[in-house]
């Protein structure tokens, strides 16, 4: 259920952007969800629907998936994170704070925990559309 807290952040930010851009009705909000954090989409979508203000009543939330791409800083190997390779506790820990990936994931080529999360970390508000 900590998806609720992230949904609150998305709605608050979308409201701020809508105000700044003078949108009276917001029709579409696109959110990118990184696979590293593995947010539960049904809960996240439900939270979004409960948190929206009145000028968002027509909104459609597009939830895009972003693969978690990691790059080793030692050997430059680039790979895509698969949660099936980790135990349940590690997956859950990364779900709450994706940076603890550095505790549980190692470069499959050289074994280093010193990698960069190139994409697919967590939640990003990609775009917002509406009518002025």
């Amino acid at each position: 259920m900590h998806e609720w807290a992230l949904a609150e952040a998305v709605v608050k930010t979308a409201v701020q952007i809508a105000e700044k851009e003078g949108l009276k009705q917001v029709t579409e909000v696109t959110v990118k969800i990184g696979e590293l954090q593995d947010v539960e989409r049904p809960i996240f979508r439900f939270a979004l629907s409960q948190l929206i203000p009145s000028n968002f009543k027509l909104v459609k939330f597009r939830l895009l998936r972003s693969k978690a791409k990691l790059k080793c800083r030692v050997c430059s190997n680039v790979w895509v994170f698969k949660k099936t390779k980790l135990n349940k506790d590690a997956v859950e820990a990364i779900h709450f704070v994706p940076e603890v990936a550095h505790t549980y994931i190692k470069c499959p080529k050289c074994g280093s925990p010193d990698f960069e999360i190139l994409e697919g970390r967590g939640i990003w508000l990609e775009s917002i559309k509406g009518a002025k």
């Binding site: 259920m1 807290a5 709450f96 704070v97």
Partner: protein
């Protein structure tokens, strides 16, 4: 693309009256011990207090508190468990006893994440145990929590105090309030640190003599609060 988490942080902290970062320029000055004991002392005085361990790569407040088998509750966010009367948050809930080798951007992201999803209740004080130095954690905390106040811990060593000059200079440049300087683990009679603190036009809070009983009190908060060190920190709690 916008990172939405940053926008919710102010709301998450709005029911907290004061945020105090216990900081130092150098490691090994007893900062975590001061932060934990200060938080426990404030609880003892009847305040509602949170303790947040921001030393992600070398956390130690959980060891001082001796916590085991507790986790934040997931409820529209993360609710920190109550430990010895403190709402306690740390990355160790998720990294366990293993290393969390984080670079700067990772430290920033973990801090933003925890500030965005932690649901603190109404608190009089949130005490933050900072990592040493003037790196990402200090800069991010000032950026994300502009009303933070700093309490600086040093030892009697001039090497440690040299870093106090740098830290306090940075905080002044950024208009961040400094509550004062605490001289910890004092083993000599000299008043050098007090004098130099006053030369910097900073408040010298007090000196705390080295207390050999501290080590045996790690993991036992009741025992810790009975030490002469804790009596001194309790007096600090009065001044903040």
């Amino acid at each position: 693309m916008v990172d939405p988490r940053v926008n919710i942080i102010e709301q998450r902290l709005k029911r907290i009256t004061r945020v105090i970062a216990v900081s130092s320029g150098k490691g090994g000055v007893g900062k975590s011990m001061v932060a934990t004991t200060l938080a426990l002392s404030l609880v003892k005085r009847g305040f509602k207090v949170g303790l947040f361990d921001l030393d992600f790569t070398s956390p130690s407040t959980h060891l001082i508190l001796g916590i085991e088998g507790v986790q934040p509750k997931e409820e529209k966010g993360l609710v920190p468990p109550l430990v010895y009367g403190l709402e306690y948050m740390s990355l160790v809930y998720y990294s366990g006893n293993q290393a969390a080798p984080l670079r700067g951007t990772d430290t920033s992201n973990a801090l933003i994440e925890l500030l965005a999803v932690t649901l603190w209740s109404e608190l009089d004080y949130l005490v933050i145990d900072m990592p040493p130095g003037i790196g990402d954690a200090v800069l991010d905390l000032i950026r994300l929590v502009p009303r933070v106040e700093f309490l600086i811990v040093t030892t009697s060593s001039l090497l440690a105090f040299e870093t106090v000059k740098k830290l306090s200079g940075l905080l002044r440049d950024l208009n961040v309030p400094i509550l004062g300087v605490l001289e910890n683990m004092k083993m000599t009679d000299t008043a050098d640190i007090k004098r130099q603190t006053e030369l910097l036009d900073l408040k010298f809070i007090m000196e705390i003599p080295y207390d050999p009983e501290i080590e045996a009190a790690i993991g036992y908060p009741e025992k810790l609060l009975a030490t002469s060190f804790a009596q001194k920190v309790n007096a600090v709690a009065q001044t903040v």
